[in-house]
Symmetry: C2
Subunit: 220 residues, 2 copies
């Protein structure tokens, strides 16, 4: 197969051994969305059995489980299987990254900044997300600082991710549809949610808790 036989932008991108997508867009998106909903629902229901967990705690556990699984399984596969686009037997995760590459061809092109940040996200932040689920569930004293740390890592990843593309001319999408749907909208969850959790964690750390205030009042 000639190296130009791929659908990505820029067209002079060299992808020797590239095997075309064999899954349709819905065969890729539906399993991801459905399994995400199943995971979120399962964590919501299971965490509801504990009377000491607030609704916010349970929402946070849902998010950390979902994003942890995404980091480890989906992004981990990309980071540590460099030849995913050459696989001759269709495999779901390889197909997913070939589809996503329509919005950002740096994935199929293995851009060093993308591989570095995805590798770190999968190997360090992914496991940290599961520690965050445990920390929230057991009200550990390090719960807020851990969540804050993971959020900053995710946000710094976004700065590098979008910053490098911008500096290189932002020309990695096959069309405005894929640019907006995959590159902007799909990634925006990892900007908005970590920002909200980081702000909440910062406030929780800086502001004395209600119980501490009560203790202080008693002591007076």
């Amino acid at each position: 197969m000639a190296s130009s036989d791929h659908p990505y932008v820029p067209s002079d991108l060299k992808l020797p051994g590239y095997v075309p997508l064999s899954f349709s867009q819905s065969q890729i998106l539906v399993p991801y969305i459905v399994s995400s909903i199943v995971v979120l629902a399962a964590v919501w229901v299971l965490s509801g059995r504990s009377p000491k967990l607030s609704k916010m705690d349970r929402l946070l556990m849902c998010w950390w489980t979902f994003t942890g699984l995404t980091h480890i399984i989906v992004e981990g596969y990309f980071a540590f299987v460099p030849d995913f686009f050459k696989k001759k037997t269709p495999f779901y995760l390889a197909e997913l990254w070939k589809e996503y590459s329509k919005g950002d061809s740096r994935y199929v092109g293995r851009h060093s900044a993308v591989v570095a940040l995805e590798g770190f996200t999968a190997a360090v932040e992914g496991p940290a997300c599961f520690l965050a689920v445990y920390a929230v569930a057991s009200s550990k004293s390090y719960s807020y600082i851990l969540q804050f740390a993971i959020c900053l890592g995710q946000l710094y990843g976004c700065v590098i991710y979008f910053g490098t593309a911008y500096l290189e001319g932002d020309n990695y999408s096959v069309s405005p549809f894929y640019y907006w749907a995959y590159y902007i909208i799909a990634n925006s969850f990892w900007i908005v949610i970590p920002t909200l959790i980081a702000i909440r964690s910062w406030k929780k750390i800086v502001t004395p808790s209600e119980s501490a205030k009560k203790t202080k009042r008693k002591a007076k």
Copy 2:
């Protein structure tokens, strides 16, 4: 001037308009080291006038002032003056980055990951360092979480900085001397010190302070 007329590695790096270094290594390193010592000494002496500041507080103020100035002035110049290597009139900061590029030619070559992380470091982390100096000096409640956040940013920057070079074959130094002196040893300060401060900040946030413990004991 032909584009190959530069001392950097790889030799096929294109640097149209490159103007050779006119400062010697000592003309570049001595002013940086001397001005750093002057800054550190000035902050140490000035902060010593406040009896409520511990020696650790004063050391932290020295570090945050030094690293903040480095981020804003030195790294800010690199990030926001793209044509620094074409300047015909010798200018100290341009000479400094042309010299440092002997250890990592991605600076003179304006590698997108390096420009993205240096831009963020200069524009966001630099000012945050000065907020940290103020926060430590005035014992603000957000002092530890702010220092923790800046340290994580510096460490994440190092992950991307070394990670991208490693993935690209780590071939950006003119010799092992420059590789070790500039690329490894000079940068190691921004790995070791942020790691130590991040661990200390984490512990301070997670462990209840002595005064809080006393309050609790009184309340019992």
